[in-house]
Amino acid sequence: MTIFIHELKMKLRSVLVWSFSITALLILFASIFGTVAEEMDLLNEVLANYPPELLAAFGWDNMDMGTVLGFFAFAFSFIQIMISIQAANYGYSLVSVEERELTADFLLAKPLPRRKILTSKLLAALAALWITFAVLCIVSVIAVNGYAEGRSYDGGTLAKVLSSVLFLQLFFLMGGLAVSLLLKKVPSVISISLGTVFGMYVLAAFGSGMGEDTVDYLTPFKHFEATEIVRTGQFDLPKISISIAVIVIAAIASYLLYQRRDIPTV
């Protein structure tokens, strides 16, 4: 329990910064919806001039920016990236930050099994992510209701779009943790997590742009594409199950790897 509180305290500032950034981005988007909705014809004209591959790459090909949720989905792809970077940061640093700052010797010399240490740390990271998620949900609902100005939208679909975040958080948290435990030393958390998230995103964009379906299975951004959820009104279950499988495997691998890990020194 003390580790949990300690870890959560250490993450508090980061949670505030991420929550604030996400809030700011949502407010920014909400403020331009009115203009976008009014100038839809003009926007469609502009978009029509772009090559269809490019539109597909960003998931803008089957999107209706003039509707409340269509526009939200457009904004939400950026939110997904931010949330994923935050989760990847926590995942990569969960264990490695103690090893890099050499506090691991302090913690692991205490009378606790490693399993418990890892669980406490994971729960603290999840709590931090879920606080961010709660802020995201509240701000999203307020923002959507604010800019909708009486236009109707399906609340269930909005909930589905928002809940995609929970999966992405787990995916990048557990994935980052597992990868960090496969490495002897994690060189730099920020660069590796930005690399992973943008790598996955570019892969998704590339796959869509090229019309390459196999890529769809590799990157979680294709499993939880907001514009797709809004268009179909539901999750793509086969694809989601891939993400879930990755999460489960990464979790099991993390516990096994950490149990037998040699804690590096200077």
Partner: protein, 290 residues
Amino acid sequence: MPIIEINNLSKYYGKARGIVDVSMTVEEGEIFGFIGPNGAGKSTTIRLLLSLIYPTSGSAKVFGKDAIQHGPEIREDIGYLPSEVFYYDKMKVIDLLNYSASFYKKDCSQRIKELAEIMELDLKRRIDDLSYGNKKKVGIVQGLLHSPKLIILDEPTAGLDPLMQQRFFDLIADENEKGATVFFSSHILGEVQRLCNRVAIIREGEIVTVEDIKTLRHNNYKKIAITGEALDSSIFNIDGATNLTQVDGSVNFFFKGDINQVTRLLSAQTITDVLIEEPTLEEIFMHYYA
């Protein structure tokens, strides 16, 4: 029952040697010194005892229990001071110590105050504002606050000024008197000599010898220095003499064996001065590494 029992313990980091086939036991109530140069495998051995790393082969028991299987249980009664002290920079000293204490099943607040007073540690400072020596003090208090039965110290005195070193040694001696066993690694022989009952010497990952500190010093080695005109060092080149050197009129060497051999040789010489003394542990140590 031995407090520490190490059996044929080996550790390789990939192909790099950590320690090779180390065996030794530390008895209850001992202050056991563990000496060797940097990179000899001292920290590796200690980190194996704490299961911070896992052995390639062999096993270690602490309090009669396997170090890996019963790790958490064993660590309840171990106080560990790592060679390099690093703590969460943004915390205050007192918060770090309370965090440390929270892992043990006893109330340590009183002991924290006592130890901080002895070591003159300001509990209200932030850790990243502390000097290296002060961080070391945090490490010492952190390692002793739960009154452990086994105290493991890895190069503990680096960064402490002589006064604090003395306080620290007194503290360790006190804990030892109260019944704690101490396992003390160092590359500074003077401090080991001062404190320890027995000592193991490790070199390139292997134990060279485990000896009583007294036998080690009274190993019949004599350090002999002779000054005189027209001395020829070669006449002292006898069995048992080592490290024979001559600088101008003075001859120095170590001798192990019947001292009469030397005195007989000396009586035939015209000398101005002679000094026969116990070598320091440092010099004995050099001998093991020669």
